[in-house]
């Protein structure tokens, strides 16, 4: 395997990590706000706070890691995507900033402010929408090079059904992933009311999720036939993903093996995410930039890989410690120990 492929796999894994942890985070914020509006906050807020508090900062680092890494391994992306994405990504940054800071302000300052909770919940849906625009753009057809300057055709982007399908898919995924995770988490914490509510949400969002995923594959046939052929050629991966999805829904329906259902959920998205990524190969931005043209020099690539391995040696034990203390610690989960912070 060459370094280009290794580099993109590493980055894709980190992006996947971000998608999962951020989805849980964004979805939780939305469910929290929704429960406030429907007067069910007493059921949910406790379990959501308990999970989110220690990990919100770590979630953010996954994203930073991805975009620093992609500019490191593929400096050309800075030129193409940097120029084109000024507006959508700036909006995403502002939403992320509002969200991250309000979260800290609210937990430590004025707990239970409805306006904050609402802003927090809505931003959780808008951020995936504004970030998923990047995926749409990477499919090609929205960027033109005029006088050596890449320019984004906003009109084409906003009127394309593909854009809106991807936005809807990202929202449905966020809510589904979050609901499945919190179903399990509430069950672990023996919070039956929260468990029951989240289970309902998980089943509700399963439908739109699979509907949008299929819709996108169909649209790809029109939008970019090359990509469609690539997708068809690796159909078993999408098939496995679909099977895993059905198994997850079935487990949740039957209220059985909830820990397993979270595992299956992650695998389902892993397969879909990698199938999507593989079918994109070798393009970073269709049809201008491939991973081979955009790759950094050999020396930098090697030192980045070394730094990456060294960094992982530091991170994996630390993350394990974090999870052991908060995710898998029965005492903490059920709240038998008193609220530690501050």
């Amino acid at each position: 395997m060459n370094l280009e492929v290794l580099g993109i796999i590493v980055l894709w894994i980190f992006l996947f990590g971000y998608v999962i942890v951020a989805s849980i985070d964004f979805g939780a914020g939305f469910f929290n706000a929704y429960s406030l509006l429907t007067n069910k906050s007493h059921i949910l807020s406790n379990i959501i706070q308990r999970y989110l508090s220690p990990v919100w900062e770590v979630t953010n680092v996954f994203l930073v890691f991805f975009f620093v890494g992609i500019v490191g391994f593929f400096p050309q992306t800075a030129f193409y995507y940097g120029t084109v994405l000024l507006v959508p990504v700036s909006i995403a940054i502002i939403l992320l900033a509002v969200r991250g800071s309000y979260y800290a302000f609210e937990s430590y300052g004025s707990r239970g402010h409805k306006g904050y909770a609402f802003a927090y919940g809505v931003s959780g849906l808008l951020i995936p929408s504004s970030l998923s625009v990047v995926l749409t753009i990477s499919e090609g057809g929205f960027v033109e090079i005029i006088n050596d300057r890449p320019q984004l055709d906003f009109w084409a982007l906003f009127t394309s059904p593909l854009t809106w399908s991807i936005v809807l898919l990202s929202i449905a995924s966020v809510l589904y992933i979050s609901a499945v995770f919190l179903t399990w988490y509430a069950w672990k914490a023996q919070d039956w009311e929260a468990h029951e509510l989240m289970r309902k949400y998980a089943l509700i969002w399963a439908g739109p999720l699979i509907f949008m995923a299929v819709a996108i594959i169909i649209q790809m046939q029109q939008h970019n036939p090359d990509r469609f052929r690539n997708m068809i050629s690796i159909w078993p991966m999408f098939g496995i993903s679909g099977m895993l999805f059905l198994m997850t829904v079935w487990l949740i329906w039957k209220k059985r093996g909830l820990g397993l259902s979270v595992g299956l959920l992650i695998l389902q998205f892993l397969f879909a995410f990698f199938a999507y990524g593989i079918s994109h190969y070798p393009y970073l931005l269709y049809p201008y930039l491939t991973i081979y043209e955009g790759f950094t020099n050999q020396e930098m690539a090697i030192s980045l890989v070394i730094a990456f391995i060294a960094g992982l040696c530091l991170l994996i034990p630390s993350l394990y410690l974090l999870f052991r203390l908060f995710l898998f610690n029965k005492e903490y989960l059920t709240g038998n120990q008193k609220d530690f912070h501050a």
Partner: protein, 449 residues
């Protein structure tokens, strides 16, 4: 191909984001060390007050970290959004420290989360202390790596440019460039200094506002001692930075000193104003001082601005920034010497209202020094974005809409700035130290521990 307004607004937006970010970033680098030291002193002397101090600082620290993280994410992305041409070139050479910075940040984030949410979970205070070490290390290391990136922009090396192509790239040589040692050391020392003086100014403020608690006196004394150590370190490293500039970036030093003619035994210009015709008025000239600052030798030759082409000279207003930074540094060293010596010697004036107010002023002044220092360093390398290789205008985006984004980010930073101040002050007002000590006593007696 260039877009004048995009270049201008890209510079404005970058300056805005960085100026806002470094307030929180400086706190983020320095405060963990102070928390760790307070926890350590508390453990060693078995003094509950210092442990409380560590915790109370941490609680406020979380708010500043939150703002630091989100504005840091903003500048991280803006590097590519606003300077795509620069990143395409520099990314080939300098991606390594950027990458390592995220690791340091990751590391810090994990352990800060653990420390915060394991409050009182372990009976042994040493475990809490051990959690703080990676937080402090991670915080300082991320400052180290990101400063390495900046120092590369000042003294690029570790590559060759042949017909517009980068060849012979050596990532480690690029990292360990000539300005890296002084820059990294100066950033760290000044961040520690600023954090110590900020925390001292909070304690002094509480003492002024009527609290006479021993907790604040201990806190004030500890922070002033630390502030003194780090302000001396900052000054010494600052002197090294002068010598570095004389050798590698003489135009920056000359512009900061309004030194036009190359001459031996150069004098240093303090204060003063410059009119339209570049006449210097009301300045104090200290003979030989510039030669000493630049080369450590009163007779040494210092290169003047006239040696450089007109379009490679940085703006001359950086002289004012230089003066503000240096004066604040000296002033704070003096205040902390007086205070520390005063405590040892029993001088009474350090408890007077006017002296307490000087101490309160120390925190905000140090932040102003940090800002002016960064503006000096950054504006001082204009017109280059990559000194000697790429001009700022060549690195900027060609995108429209940068001005709109500037307005949006302005609003964001106003909201974040006001929000963090309101939340912080409310947090401490709602739970004064007297209250917290009482609660803690009740807890201990109640048999929780």
């Amino acid at each position: 191909m260039m877009n004048e307004s995009a270049v201008f607004w890209s510079r404005m937006l970058t300056e805005l984001t960085l100026s806002f970010h470094i307030i929180y970033a400086t706190i983020g680098v320095g405060v963990p060390l102070m928390i760790m030291i307070a926890q350590w002193v508390g453990m060693k002397n078995n003094d509950e007050h210092y442990i409380l101090l560590a915790r109370r600082i941490t609680r406020g620290f979380v708010i500043t970290v939150a703002v630091g993280v989100v504005t840091g994410t903003a500048i991280g992305l803006q590097l590519s959004l606003l300077w795509p041409n620069f990143m395409r070139l520099a990314g080939q050479v300098i991606a390594l420290p950027l990458f390592m910075e995220t690791f340091a940040f990751f590391f810090e984030a994990i352990f800060l989360g653990i420390y915060l949410y394991t409050w009182d979970r372990f009976d042994n205070q040493t475990k809490h202390m051990l959690l703080l070490i990676p937080v402090a290390i991670g915080a300082s290391m991320s400052a180290v790596f990101i400063t390495v990136v900046n120092s590369f922009m000042n003294t690029p090396q570790g590559f060759e440019l042949v017909n517009g192509e980068l060849v012979n790239i050596q990532p480690l040589v690029a990292m360990f460039n000539p300005s890296m040692p002084t820059k990294v050391a100066h950033v760290l020392a000044s961040a520690y200094m600023t954090s110590a003086f900020l925390l001292a100014s909070i304690a002094a403020f509480r003492l002024l506002k009527g609290s006479n608690h021993i907790y604040y006196k201990k806190s004030l004394f500890l922070m002033m001692k630390l502030g003194l150590i780090f302000s001396i370190a900052t000054a010494v490293i600052g002197d090294f930075s002068g010598k570095f500039l004389a050798e590698y970036q003489p135009e920056k030093l000359a512009a900061a000193e309004w030194h036009f003619e190359t001459e031996e035994a150069a004098s240093l210009i303090l204060l003063g104003f410059m009119d339209q015709e570049e006449n210097i008025k009301l300045a104090i000239r200290i003979p030989y001082a510039l030669s000493i600052l630049a080369h450590g030798n009163p007779m040494a030759e210092v290169i003047g601005l006239n040696e450089f082409p007109e379009d490679e000279i940085p703006p001359l207003y950086i002289h004012y920034l230089f003066n503000i930074m240096v004066f604040i540094g000296m002033f704070m060293t003096l205040v902390s010497i007086l205070y520390v010596a005063g405590v040892w010697r029993g001088w009474q004036f350090i408890k007077k209202v006017w002296f307490r107010w000087l101490t309160v002023l120390g925190g905000p002044l140090s932040i102003i020094a940090i800002e002016t220092g960064w503006w000096l360093a950054e504006v001082g390398r204009q017109p280059w974005i990559l000194r000697g290789y790429m001009r700022t205008a060549q690195g900027a985006t060609t995108s429209e809409h940068v001005d709109m984004m500037f307005i949006l980010f302005c609003i964001l930073y106003i909201v974040l700035g006001i929000g963090s101040i309101v939340v912080l002050s409310r947090m401490y007002r709602a739970n004064p130290i007297e209250q917290e000590i009482q609660d803690r006593m009740a807890e201990v007696e109640g048999g929780v521990r």
